[in-house]
Assembly symmetry: C2
Homo-oligomer: 207 residues x 2
């Protein structure tokens, strides 16, 4: 997409340079494909710019998005071994986050709610200490939707995060307060999907 000119320059006393360095809160929502994929594409660009990237996947199954995880692991090694790009961390809720010593063994909804809340607490802590430059909170709208994590707390933490930390949140049905707080909101709308024709996901394309 050609880069456009701003439609209006706000009267906020900031220089263009200051505005350029403003951290971005982006939300990819809507029922269509590409919400997470576009977030990982942004993370790839951030990695290339030397930013430290951290992905937090609020998904249950370890089967999802293994392709992205492996690719970012390779990028992380490129950073560690050759100094290219930025550092990469990849955390998924799965049966328990990597930073929690005792992985959860049961699979009850209560545990998922607790795990999601644990995830957000960890992220809020990292934002406070400016641990990373670029955060992907993948599928994070679901714990918000299901009331496992309080939207008001999330919006408050995000709006008051220090420094220049970029955050991208993906998932359907983003709450309105999150949309209001975000700088960039894109809705992915599905016009046509192969699953309509009975196809299942395929390696390299869907995951």
């Amino acid at each position: 997409m050609p880069q456009g000119q701003p439609v209006a320059v706000p009267d906020d006393g900031l220089t263009t340079r200051a505005r350029r360095n403003t951290p971005v809160l982006a939300v990819h929502t809507g029922p269509g494909k590409g919400k997470s994929t576009a977030a990982f594409g942004m993370a790839l660009r951030a990695w290339n710019a030397g930013m430290s990237v951290a992905v937090f996947q609020f998904v249950k199954s370890a089967k999802w998005k293994v392709g992205e995880e492996s690719a970012f692991a390779a990028l992380g090694r490129l950073n560690a071994e050759q100094g290219l790009g930025g550092a990469v961390e990849w955390h998924k809720m799965g049966k328990g986050w990597s930073w929690i010593r005792q992985p959860r063994k049961s699979d009850s909804p209560d545990d998922h709610a607790i795990a999601a809340a644990d995830g957000w607490t960890e992220i809020a802590g990292r934002l406070a200490e400016q641990r990373h430059d670029f955060y992907v909170l993948d599928e994070f709208t679901y714990p918000l939707k299901w009331g496992w994590v309080a939207v008001d707390d999330v919006v408050d933490v995000l709006l008051n995060r220090p420094g220049a930390q970029h955050v991208v949140i993906t998932g359907r049905d983003a709450p309105q307060r999150l949309i209001d707080a975000a700088d960039l909101v894109t809705e992915m709308r599905c016009v046509k999907h192969p699953m309509d024709a009975g196809r299942k996901g395929q390696r390299g394309i869907e995951w």
Copy 2:
């Protein structure tokens, strides 16, 4: 996004396995952000699955998407040096495609039209010989829209491409015939954009 079940299994005599290996033609269109970014995210996943990836950018300026280009160059080196992922080729129209010996020096609209047509001719040739597994035709809807490349020819070549070559086409205003031909069409709709508030693009986020 959780992986759903097909809404219906078509009566086409194919096994699920055969359907899974069906090559995908995807179109990312609409006025919102994330069309190209999601395509590069898919390319990342394809790379990880060991597919040979080729990107063709139908853009004039070399300034665009340098972040993705550098990141994929790094991935291509990982493939060449360590055998990880798939091979990567990245071509951009710019002032003349890399496979054309004499770069164009002028900057007239006629030259862009010719360059776009040259690009498509090259891609059609590569599809015929099954040169790559995964093609990104970035911003390719514009030459179609402007009549520089014939939509009928493109649709015909894409629908009749041999093997299991995946193709993703990005850009606004995808022609209806292309949408009809595609397996997966996603429209990106802009709900809110920082440029509305006078911000300009920033490194690591926009490019």
